[in-house]
C-alpha cells in the first residue's frame, strides 16, 4: 500500500511522519522518541529498544474513513477504545468514521504493555500529539489549497471548512498535499491541542470496540484463532513447583486416537518466563490431547519444594514476629521505614492496640485459560498469536531456541488478564512445542503447521505466579485524646513489600515498618491487579479502623484528621489533599452520616487507598445474619484519577468490576500449599463472586481534579476489601483480621 515515504530530517522538535497511500490516502505516524520522555511502560516490562523508524497511527482512506491503530494489548480494560479515542478526538473526526486496528508487537510503537495502570499516563500526551499534528497538517494543506489564512479554518467530522467562502474539503481530498508536506514541529502541535471543553470523543461514553463481535460469538479471543491445519497441545507439568520429569510413557500416549506427538521437554531458562520440565502432547483436537493425559504416566523428581506447606509459612511468620518485630529495619533496607522512636512512644501511650492480620496467596484465574499459538517454520522463523499482557519475542524465542529477531508477534484480545499474563510462560512453552512438532513433521515429509497450546483451568490455578501472602503484626499507640502517636507493622514476607508511601506513614510521629523473610519460600509470586496494595490495603485500612474505634472516633473523620496533620514531607508522591478529597466525597455521596439509623446486624464501613497514582475511597453497607451470612447491600465509591476520564462508560464498569473482584478476595479466594503443590484446582474450590452475591448498586463518582490523567485498572480494587470488612465490624462488632472469610465460617447469604 505504502508508495512513498517522506523521511524528514530528524529534527529533535519534529516527530510526525507522513506517507502517501496508493489511491489517494495518507498515513500519519510518529517517531517513537516522543514516548521516551514519558519513561518506561508497565512494571516488569521488557526493555524495548527505542527506534527512530516511523510507525503508522492514522490511515486516511480515499473514502474519508480512518483506520486508527490500537497499540496496546486488550484484556478487558478497554484500551482498544481508549487510546484511539484520544487520537480521533484531536484529529477531529467522528467516531463513526473510525475503524480500529490492533497493532502487532513492533518496537516502533514504543511500550506495548498492559500493567500497572500505566497505559493512560504513558500514552495520553503522545496520542494527543498524533491526532493534533494530523489535524494541523490538514488545516495547513487546506490553507495552501485555498490561499486563505489557516486561522480562518475550522475542522469537524474529517473535513476542513472555510466559512467565509463556504468551502469544505474532506481530509481525504487533502491527503496527497499532506503527504508532500513537511510535518509540523512538536511545539506547534502542542499549541494546536484542543481545549478539553471541546472534546467530542475523549470523556464521552464510547462503547467497547469488539462488543458486536463478542455478543454474536465471532472469533475474538486468543483461544478462538485457528488457521487451517492447526494442531492442539497440552503441556503436563509437575504439580510441585520446580519438579522435573524422570521418565514418561510417551510411546504409549502416542498410540492414542488423534495423538500426533508426545515428548518430554527439558527445563530451560530462569525466572518466571522460563521453560518448565514437562510432557507435551499434541493431537488433532484439544480434547483428544487433554484426554490423553489420563493415560500419561510421569515419574517426577519433585525436588526440594515438596517439603513446603502453607501452615509452616504461617507458623514461621509468628516465630519471626516474636523475635524480630521490635527490631528496626536496616538503613536503606527494602520496604522498611523508621521515623521517631516507636518503642518509647508505645511505653508512654495512653492506649495500645495490637493485632495480627493475614491474607493468603492468590491465583489470578482470568476466565480464558492460558493459551498461545505458534507456527515454527522450516526456515527457522516463528509466528506467534498470544494474549500476553507484556508481549515479548524473547519468550517464544527462548522456547524455540532461536533469535528473537526471527519472531513475528501478533497481539490477540485476552479473556481477562489481572496480571496473570504479565508472565508469559505459555509463550515459552508453545515456542518449544511448535519447533519440535515442525521438526518431527519435516522428518515425516510433512509441512509445518501452527500449534495451539491451551492449559486447563487446573493447569492455570496450579501453575500461576501467586499474589504473595501477607503476615502482618501491628502495634499502635494513642495519646489521651485518641491521636495516633506510634505505629508499627512487622511483616513476615513472602516476596511482599509494603509501599514506601503507604498511609499512615507520613502522618504519625513514631512509625516503623520492618520485615523479615519467611524461608524457605519457593512458591512463584507475581503481580495481581493492584500489586503492592491489593492485600496491604486490607490490613492497613482495617487496623486504622481499629485505631479509630479505640480512640472512640468516627472512622472516616479519623482518617481525615490524620491526613490533616502530616509529619514532615508526604512520602513518595502521596497527596494528602487528594486522599481527603475522595474521603469527603464518598462521605457526602453516601448515607455515611445516617448510618446510626441502620437496623441491628447492619453496618457501614469505610476505607481508602492510594494505588497506582489514583485515590479511591469506598463506603459499603452490609448486613450479617446470626449464621455468619454476609449480604453486601450497596457501595459508594469516589475516585480521583485526575482531570480527564477518557471513557466514563467503561471506567464505571471497571470500578464496579473491581469491587466485585474484591468480594472474591474477601470471601472465598485463597491458595494453600501442601507438600509443595497447590491444593485448589478449579472454581469449585476457588469460587468467584456470583451475581446473587453482588450488591444492588455500586455508585461511582469521578472527582476530576486538576492533575494529569492516570489509570484505572488497579486502584479501585484494594480499598473495597477493608471497606467491606470494616462494615462487617460495624454490623457485628467482630473484627475481621484474616481473609478469606469462608475459612472462618462465613458465607454469602
Amino acid at each position: 500500500m505504502k508508495k512513498t515515504s517522506k523521511t524528514a530530517q530528524l529534527d529533535r522538535r519534529q516527530f510526525l511522519q507522513v506517507s502517501a497511500l496508493a489511491g489517494g490516502g495518507v498515513i500519519i505516524g510518529m517517531y517513537v522518541p516522543a514516548f521516551a520522555q514519558q519513561g518506561p511502560g508497565g512494571r516488569g516490562g521488557p526493555q524495548i529498544p527505542w527506534s527512530l523508524a516511523p510507525n503508522m497511527y492514522i490511515t486516511v482512506h480515499p473514502d474519508n474513513t480512518f483506520t486508527i491503530i490500537a497499540k496496546n494489548p486488550e484484556t478487558g480494560q478497554g484500551i482498544r477504545a481508549a487510546l484511539p479515542q484520544i487520537i480521533a478526538d484531536e484529529f477531529d473526526v467522528d467516531w463513526t468514521q473510525v475503524k480500529i486496528q490492533q497493532a502487532d508487537l513492533d518496537p516502533r510503537y514504543g511500550p506495548q504493555n498492559e500493567g500497572g495502570s500505566r497505559a493512560t499516563p504513558v500514552n495520553y500526551d503522545p496520542m494527543r500529539q498524533i491526532g493534533a499534528g494530523g489535524r494541523l497538517m490538514m488545516v495547513t494543506a487546506a490553507a495552501q489549497q485555498w490561499n486563505v489564512p489557516a486561522g480562518e479554518l475550522t475542522t469537524g467530522s474529517g473535513t476542513v471548512k472555510h466559512a467565509a467562502s463556504n468551502r469544505t474539503a474532506t481530509y481525504a481530498s487533502l491527503a496527497s498535499r499532506v503527504a508532500s508536506m513537511q510535518p509540523p514541529a512538536a511545539d506547534a502541535v502542542k499549541a494546536a491541542y484542543k481545549d478539553p471543553k471541546n472534546f467530542k470523543i475523549i470523556g464521552k461514553p464510547i462503547k467497547g470496540v469488539d462488543n458486536v463481535a463478542i455478543v454474536q460469538g465471532k472469533p475474538s479471543f486468543s483461544i478462538d484463532f485457528e488457521p487451517e491445519g492447526t494442531l492442539f497441545a497440552v503441556f503436563d507439568k509437575c504439580p510441585v513447583f520446580g519438579g522435573k520429569v524422570m521418565s514418561a510413557n510417551v510411546d504409549e500416549v502416542k498410540r492414542l486416537p488423534g495423538v500426533k506427538h508426545a515428548f518430554v521437554v527439558e527445563a530451560a531458562g530462569r525466572g518466571a518466563n522460563s521453560l518448565a520440565s514437562g510432557v507435551a502432547i499434541v493431537a488433532d483436537g484439544w480434547w483428544q490431547a487433554n484426554n490423553a493425559r489420563k493415560t500419561l504416566k510421569v515419574v517426577w523428581d519433585e525436588g526440594p519444594v515438596a517439603s513446603q506447606n502453607t501452615i509452616t509459612y504461617l507458623a514461621q511468620s509468628k516465630q519471626l514476629a516474636a523475635t524480630e518485630a521490635t527490631k528496626l529495619p536496616p538503613e536503606g533496607g527494602r520496604g522498611g521505614a523508621a521515623v521517631g522512636n516507636a518503642e518509647t512512644a508505645f511505653a508512654s501511650a495512653a492506649k495500645v492496640v495490637e493485632a495480627e492480620y493475614y491474607f493468603p496467596l492468590l491465583s489470578h484465574a482470568p476466565l480464558e485459560p492460558q493459551n498461545s499459538m505458534a507456527h515454527y517454520k522450516t526456515d527457522g522463523t516463528l509466528e506467534i498469536w498470544s494474549c500476553s499482557q507484556i508481549p515479548n519475542a524473547q519468550n517464544p524465542a527462548l522456547g524455540a531456541g532461536i533469535d528473537p529477531a526471527k519472531i513475528t508477534f501478533h497481539l490477540v484480545r485476552a479473556g481477562g488478564g489481572f496480571g496473570r499474563r504479565l508472565t508469559s510462560d505459555y509463550d515459552v512453552e508453545v515456542g518449544k512445542i511448535a519447533r519440535v512438532v515442525t521438526e518431527e513433521r519435516a522428518k515425516a515429509g510433512l509441512p509445518s503447521v501452527p500449534v495451539k497450546l491451551l492449559w486447563t483451568r487446573e493447569d492455570d490455578i496450579s501453575h500461576d505466579q501467586y499474589r504473595p501472602a501477607g503476615y502482618h503484626f501491628f502495634k499502635a499507640g494513642l495519646d489521651q485524646s485518641g491521636k495516633l502517636v506510634a505505629f508499627r507493622d512487622f511483616v513476615a514476607s513472602t516476596n511482599s513489600v509494603i509501599p514506601a508511601n503507604e498511609y499512615p506513614r507520613g502522618f504519625v510521629q513514631n512509625f516503623v515498618v520492618n520485615s523479615a523473610p519467611v524461608t524457605p519460600f519457593d512458591i512463584p509470586t507475581g503481580a495481581l491487579r493492584a500489586p503492592g496494595t491489593n492485600g496491604v490495603s486490607f490490613v492497613m485500612q482495617s487496623f486504622v479502623d481499629e485505631i479509630a474505634i479505640a480512640a472512640g472516633k468516627d472512622p472516616l473523620q479519623y482518617r481525615i484528621d490524620l491526613l490533616n496533620n502530616p509529619v514532615g514531607d508526604a512520602p513518595g508522591g502521596f497527596n494528602a489533599a487528594r486522599a481527603k478529597g475522595v474521603l469527603e466525597a464518598v462521605r457526602d455521596m453516601s448515607p455515611w452520616n445516617t448510618r446510626a439509623s441502620l437496623p441491628k446486624g447492619s453496618g457501614m464501613g469505610v476505607a481508602f487507598q492510594f494505588a497506582h497514582a489514583g485515590y479511591v475511597a469506598y463506603v459499603v453497607e452490609v448486613a450479617v445474619n446470626a449464621q455468619k451470612g454476609v449480604d453486601v447491600k450497596r457501595a459508594w465509591c469516589a475516585v480521583d484519577i485526575g482531570r480527564q476520564i477518557v471513557n466514563p462508560l467503561h471506567s464505571q464498569n471497571l470500578v464496579q468490576g473491581a469491587f466485585i473482584e474484591a468480594m472474591s478476595h474477601m470471601m472465598a479466594w485463597q491458595i494453600t500449599i501442601d507438600k509443595g503443590r497447590v491444593v485448589q484446582k478449579n472454581f469449585n474450590n476457588y469460587q468467584p463472586t456470583r451475581m446473587s452475591q453482588a450488591p444492588v448498586s455500586v455508585d461511582v463518582k469521578f472527582l476530576q481534579t486538576d492533575f494529569d490523567p492516570t489509570g484505572l485498572g488497579e486502584p479501585a480494587l484494594p480499598p473495597a476489601i477493608p471497606a467491606i470488612t470494616n462494615a462487617i465490624y460495624a454490623a457485628t462488632g467482630v473484627r475481621i483480621r484474616q481473609v478469606p472469610l469462608n475459612s472462618a465460617g462465613y458465607a454469602w447469604v
Binding site: 484484556t75 478487558g76 480494560q77 461514553p205 462503547k207 467497547g208 469488539d210 462488543n211 458486536v212 463478542i214 455478543v215 454474536q216 460469538g217 472469533p219 475474538s220 479471543f221 483461544i223 478462538d224 485457528e226 492442539f232 486416537p257 483436537g285 484439544w286 480434547w287 484465574a365 482470568p366 476466565l367 480464558e368 485459560p369 484480545r413 479473556g415 481477562g416 488478564g417 489481572f418 491451551l454 486447563t456 483451568r457 487446573e458 462508560l649 467503561h650 464498569n653 471497571l654 464496579q656 468490576g657 473491581a658 469491587f659 466485585i660 473482584e661 478449579n682 472454581f683 469449585n684 468467584p688 463472586t689 456470583r690 451475581m691 446473587s692 453482588a694 444492588v696 448498586s697 455500586v698
Partner: protein, 154 residues
C-alpha cells in the same frame, strides 16, 4: 461414532467419541468458536448453550446424550445480532473482557423465554451459574431488564 447434531437449525454429521463433550465438538469439530472453555467442570458457565431451549453446560454434556434436541449456540441466538438481549448488551456496554458473555446471553435468553419479565431475584437464580470474572453483573442484570422491557429504559 457418527452423530447427527442440529445446531442453530442446521444438521451436522460428526464422527467423534461418544464421551466427547459437546463443547469440544462445537469448537474443534464444527469450528464454531463462540462457545467458550472456562473450567471444564460445569462451574463457570462460559460454555453455556441451549438444548431444546434449556441452558446447559456444554462441557458437561457428552455428545452421545444430545440426540435430536436442538442445540443453540451464541452464533445462532439471532441471525444478525438482533436478539433483544444482544441489543441490550450493546446499549449498556456490558462486556469488559467479554469472555463469559456468550454464556451469559444464552442463559439469559433461556430465562426470558420462561419468564418474560423476571424480577431481580429470578434473574439471580437463573444467572448464578455464569461467572463473570471481570464483575459485570450489575450491567448484565440491567441489560436483562432492558431487553425484557422491550428495550425501553425503566
Amino acid at each position: 461414532m457418527a452423530y447427527s447434531l442440529v445446531v442453530n437449525g442446521q444438521t451436522h454429521s460428526v464422527d467423534v467419541p461418544a464421551d466427547m463433550p459437546l463443547l469440544w465438538v462445537l469448537r474443534d469439530t464444527l469450528k464454531m468458536k463462540g462457545t467458550k472453555f472456562g473450567c471444564g467442570i460445569g462451574q463457570c458457565g462460559a460454555c453455556t448453550v441451549q438444548l431444546s431451549g434449556n441452558a446447559v453446560r456444554s462441557c458437561q454434556t457428552q455428545v452421545s446424550t444430545v440426540g435430536a434436541r436442538a442445540v443453540t449456540t451464541i452464533e445462532g441466538l439471532s441471525p444478525d445480532g438482533s436478539h433483544p438481549l444482544q441489543k441490550a448488551w450493546l446499549e449498556l456496554d456490558v462486556p469488559q473482557c467479554g469472555y463469559c458473555q456468550a454464556g451469559q446471553l444464552l442463559t439469559a435468553a433461556a430465562l426470558l423465554v420462561k419468564i418474560a419479565n423476571p424480577t431481580d431475584a429470578q434473574i439471580d437464580t437463573a444467572m448464578n451459574g455464569n461467572v463473570c470474572r471481570c464483575g459485570t453483573y450489575l450491567r448484565i442484570k440491567e441489560a436483562i431488564h432492558l431487553a425484557a422491557n422491550g428495550g425501553r429504559r425503566a
